[in-house]
């Protein structure tokens, strides 16, 4: 992809994540400058991943802290953060991966289904890392997450590798 295409793809990822959080989970995040790297970033403990295939194929990944997903789940379900269990955390992350991937692909072409989405997988990568490396260069869209609970800043990473 050209530099212009990269910028457009990066914008789609940022717009899709912002739209998701504004409509469903009300978590305060701020995008930082996207960049390209040789493999996926696993700086945070949780990761959700989704393969997609068709005219456009690739992998989409969200790497985030448990705190980010806990706050998002708490707002999504309207319950206290302390009440959120592990199953709900993983369910939210899977849905986020699914929704952002669907939204990015839709922004790339709103007429046709560009790809068939796979089944989202989700895990604590400190305990069970994903064993496959990226199929090609990865575009990383980093965000700063402002935690209301901790009154602190954290990072999350949305990563996309198109074949």
């Amino acid at each position: 992809m050209s530099t212009r295409d990269n910028r457009i793809a990066g914008n789609f990822v940022v717009e899709s994540m912002n739209e998701l959080l504004e409509k469903m989970a009300f978590v305060n995040i701020e995008p930082r400058e996207p960049y390209w790297t040789g493999d996926f970033i696993f700086e945070k403990e949780l990761a959700g991943r989704l393969f997609f295939s068709g005219p456009v194929s690739g992998v989409f990944l969200i790497n985030c802290s448990a705190q980010f997903i806990r706050e998002a789940t708490s707002n999504l379900l309207g319950i206290e953060g302390a009440e959120v269990n592990e199953e709900q955390l993983f369910d939210t992350l899977k849905e986020f991966v699914n929704m952002v991937t669907g939204s990015v692909l839709h922004k790339m072409d709103s007429e046709k289904s560009l790809a068939k989405l796979g089944i989202p997988e989700c895990r604590n990568v400190r305990v069970a890392p994903f064993d496959e490396s990226a199929p090609c260069e990865v575009m990383v869209c980093p965000f700063t997450f402002y935690s209301i609970t901790d009154n602190a800043e954290d990072a999350l990473f949305l990563e996309i590798a198109l074949r």
Binding site: E19, L20, K23, M24, T73, L76, L77, G78, E87, Q88, D91, T92, K94, E95, N98, M99, T101, G102, S103, H106, D109, S110, E111, K112, S113, L114, L117
Partner: protein, 125 residues
Amino acid sequence: MGLKFLIVDDSANIRAFVKKTLGLTGLEIERIDEATDGIDGLLQLAENPVDVVLTDINMPNMDGLDMIRKIREDPKFASIQIVVISTEGSREKIIEAVKCGANGYLKKPFGPEEVLDILKEAIKK
């Protein structure tokens, strides 16, 4: 009497979010049932008919489109309004859902206003 809903989605969080969102629309609601896939949805519908089905597409065992086809094959469910809620929002996919018998299509992510708008349309019918 209020409206009876069936939410079909394999994600418990999304079912809970849709349920919470329905509560924010101001609609008079009698009952909200939940199902985890198309087969579960059909079983629940046979036992407890509803006015509106809100369903995801991609689910294990039986997907949303197959479930809609089955519902539309049964004349006793002819008046049920079906709204698809999916991450896939391409024109191609929406046409496919309508051909199967869906009355409305809501793309995830969505908020209460979008749910209310699509339900107003569905209920009018």
